[in-house]
């Protein structure tokens, strides 16, 4: 009987799914049932196909198993609530046999009896375990608190298969963990397994477009003309009395425009790294590489959007002269109709989200149309310039991706005109290359005099035997010496060593002289430099100490400065930004 019912259910599901699958999609039939959206409907069938292929079963069987998964989930909730004392977990196994496994600490067969339904009867595997789920959870909590008190970072999970707690401790902390265990300051039950890992997982700290805000979505990442980065959303997503937040973190507002052609605000994002990514689908993260202004957007064009509620849907631009819901509207908003394959282009909660095509930013979600709430209206992306911001596009340098540790400093250097990189096609910065003394002369003179600075013509000599007047940086080297910041690497013969490395100790001197002038000398070093590897007798000790005192360098880590190691171009970027306070 159940099998028959099951078959009917499966057939009905298949018919429904096929009816709303892309090949059988009709806008009219979908719009008649607003609860069904294409994006949702595509997934189950696709997933069932993929499951069937992976497990070597039919799609019908796959859909049946998905159904049983749901039933198992409901049983999990019931057992957690009603049998907390003895319930020790439930899971589904796909191979070698599809079944639901459920565990109790005692009287397993008796405990499960009231919950056995016809559809579960043949596939339930009931087992006995030592520790209840609740006891595992309580122990896990206690361990986490104890380790927090001891300031030992930990990640943990309850593993119901093994009926234990797994504790992940970073290699660097394992010694301290063992010490605390031995001293008795830390106690863990024997059902906790300690696993040493190279490092703990990193918390996702990037922010970008298409992410959920408290009432709306982010659209695209932007950068202010002065260099600060943040994210945009629609101006009607907050007001002077409300604050927007992302993942519980308040994003302070940096500017808002809600008038004429504008419905946009932007927020700074303390603690987050702003990237040029934007969410185009639940698992589709893209990088914005271009923007299309309103004047370049063609009526009839196919454009897509992402919103937390209606998710990824697309439509065709039907008008570029729509009145927005803003005071003194200039009728420059863009309407997208739902006749290009998706029924629902706008739902409450979608405001502020990104409109795009491929990796090109088109606009920021503004509203649903009043005469057809399935149609959407957006503000063209070029209007973000009203806030003196521009969309953050691809990383500037091909060899300095967003996750490179010094990318912000390097891009600041580029945006300030201090560097154009080390190659043009592709545009590279060569961050790991050692900074030569010639390059340093160029960097520092630009820092002193501004990005547009050019040194005087080199004339007939640079003053250094190893720097011919034909050398690419001849004029810079000569001027660098003329300003008294360096006298070269040798007096007799006079040499500059233009291709030589710059050490961190030398850099301390160069940076401070560049900042304060050639006559500058730092305060006496006193009893300590603050670095293990820089004795007070080191020739650059007062310079190094002063550099640290000004927050320009904190050394190479662990209390060391590494005075004799060479400076890379990436390190130079950070030192430069901090010395000259680049925005």
């Amino acid at each position: 009987m159940y099998k028959q019912l099951r078959s009917i259910k499966v057939v009905l599901t298949l018919v429904l799914l096929m009816a709303i699958s892309p090949s059988g999609f009709h806008a009219q039939s979908i719009s008649a049932s607003p609860e069904i959206r294409l994006g949702e409907a595509e997934t189950p069938l696709g997933d069932a196909e993929s499951y069937a292929k992976a497990m070597g079963v039919s799609i019908e069987e796959a859909l049946y198993r998905f159904h049983i998964q749901d039933v198992g989930g409901e049983l999990d909730a019931k057992l957690s609530e009603n049998e907390a004392e003895t319930f020790a977990g439930i899971w589904v196994e796909h191979t070698p046999k599809f079944r639901i496994v459920v565990q109790f600490t005692q009287d397993a067969d008796q405990k499960i009896k009231p919950y056995i339904t016809e559809e579960l009867a043949d596939i339930l595997d009931v087992r006995t375990a030592s520790v209840s789920l609740v006891d595992l959870q309580n122990a896990q909590k206690e361990i986490i608190y104890s380790l927090a008190d001891l300031k030992i970072p930990v990640e943990s999970e309850i593993n119901i298969y093994d009926n234990n707690i797994k504790l992940f401790i970073a290699e660097i902390d394992r010694g301290r963990f063992d010490d605390e265990l031995q001293s008795g300051a830390l106690q863990i039950p024997d059902y906790a397994e300690v696993i040493t890992v190279p490092e703990l997982g990193k918390v996702e700290s990037n922010i970008y477009g298409g992410l959920p805000l408290s009432e709306c979505n982010t659209a695209f990442s932007v950068q202010h003309s002065q260099g600060t980065r943040g994210v945009t959303t629609a101006a009607h997503c907050s007001d002077d009395n409300t604050l927007l937040s992302y993942n519980g973190t308040i994003l302070p507002i940096a500017g808002r425009l809600k008038i004429g052609s504008y419905d946009v605000e932007w927020h700074i994002t303390p603690g987050f790294t702003v990237t040029n990514e934007f969410k185009a689908g639940n698992t589709d993260i893209r990088r914005a590489t271009a923007t299309k202004s309103r004047t370049d957007q063609l009526v009839g064009s196919y454009v897509c959007k992402y919103g937390v509620f209606s998710e990824y849907t697309c439509g065709c631009i039907s008008s570029k002269n729509v009145s927005g819901n803003v005071p003194s509207s200039n009728a420059t908003f863009i309407r997208v109709n739902n006749t290009c394959g998706y029924s629902d282009l706008s739902l409450p909660g979608d405001s502020g989200g990104p409109w795009f095509n491929g990796e090109t930013a088109y606009g920021i979600h503004h509203a649903a149309a009043p005469d057809d709430s399935n149609d959407a209206i957006y503000m063209a992306i070029n209007y973000v310039d009203g806030l003196s911001v521009s969309v953050v596009l691809a990383p500037i340098f091909a060899d300095v991706p967003w996750d490179y540790w010094a990318w912000q400093d390097i891009e600041r250097l580029y945006n300030s005109g201090i560097t154009a990189g080390c190659s043009t096609n592709p545009l590279n910065y060569c961050p790991a290359s050692t900074l030569t003394r010639a390059q340093m002369a160029v960097f520092l003179l630009r820092g002193i005099h501004g990005a547009a600075y050019s040194p005087p013509p080199v004339g007939s000599s640079t003053g250094f035997n190893d720097v011919p007047v034909s050398y690419w940086a001849a004029a810079w080297v000569k001027q660098f010496a003329a300003e008294g910041i360096t006298s070269g690497c040798s007096y007799t013969p006079p040499l500059y060593c233009p291709e030589g490395i710059t050490t961190h100790a030398q850099m301390a001197v160069f940076l401070l002289r560049s900042k304060y002038g050639a006559a500058y000398f730092p305060p006496p070093v006193g009893g300590s430099t603050g670095f293990y590897d820089v004795p007070i007798t080191h020739w650059a000790a007062p310079w190094i100490k002063q550099l640290a005192a000004e927050g320009i360098s904190s050394g190479c880590g662990g209390g060391y400065f590494c005075p004799e190691s060479s400076v890379t171009r990436a390190q130079m970027a950070g030192l430069f930004v901090r010395t000259f306070n680049l925005p």
């Binding site: 007001d239 927005g324 009043p370």
Partner: protein, 155 residues
């Protein structure tokens, strides 16, 4: 026969005694300048005079409450937000509960319900043209109700 007549009379009496407004369905696309009928418990019901040119799609979720005679949402994000209604909405009291009626005459939510409200914030919504001025006892933040307000499950 008498039973039927008696039933009709009782029904008429009950109807007359309730504070019920029988709304005339108004198309949401149609502008209206007629102030909406409202429950006697709702002292202020600021409403746009004209149908908006677009419905903003921010989303506020929280409990619909009546404070100082004003309909507000105590949002899950910790704000008490004053709702500004679009044409077509009205209110009525049914068994002591204030109900929100949309332009089609349907009850969309009641005071005490947990609701999801589409729309958008505005520091000064007077530019929209309102049926009544904003009252001191009903301060902002102001939120212009957009496409929908509907009852949802409490989180």
């Amino acid at each position: 026969m008498w039973k039927h007549i008696l039933s009709i009379i009782i029904l008429l009496l009950v109807t007359a005694c309730t504070d019920q407004y029988t709304s005339t369905p108004t198309s949401s696309n149609q502008a209206t300048s007629t102030p909406a009928s409202r429950s006697s418990l709702v002292a202020h019901f600021p409403q746009q005079i004209n149908t908006p040119s677009a419905y903003n799609e921010a989303l506020v979720q929280g409990e619909l409450v009546l404070i100082n005679g004003c309909l507000r949402v105590n949002s899950v994000n910790g704000y008490s937000i004053l709702l500004i209604w679009r044409p077509g909405f009205s209110t009525r009291t049914e068994q002591g509960t204030v109900q929100i009626i949309d332009g089609t005459g349907k009850v969309t939510a009641s005071v005490g319900d947990f609701v999801a409200v589409g729309g958008g914030f505005d520091d000064d919504p007077t530019w929209l043209g309102l049926t009544e001025s904003l009252q001191e006892e009903c301060p902002g933040p102001y939120y212009i109700v957009g496409e929908t307000i509907k009852k949802i499950d409490r989180p």
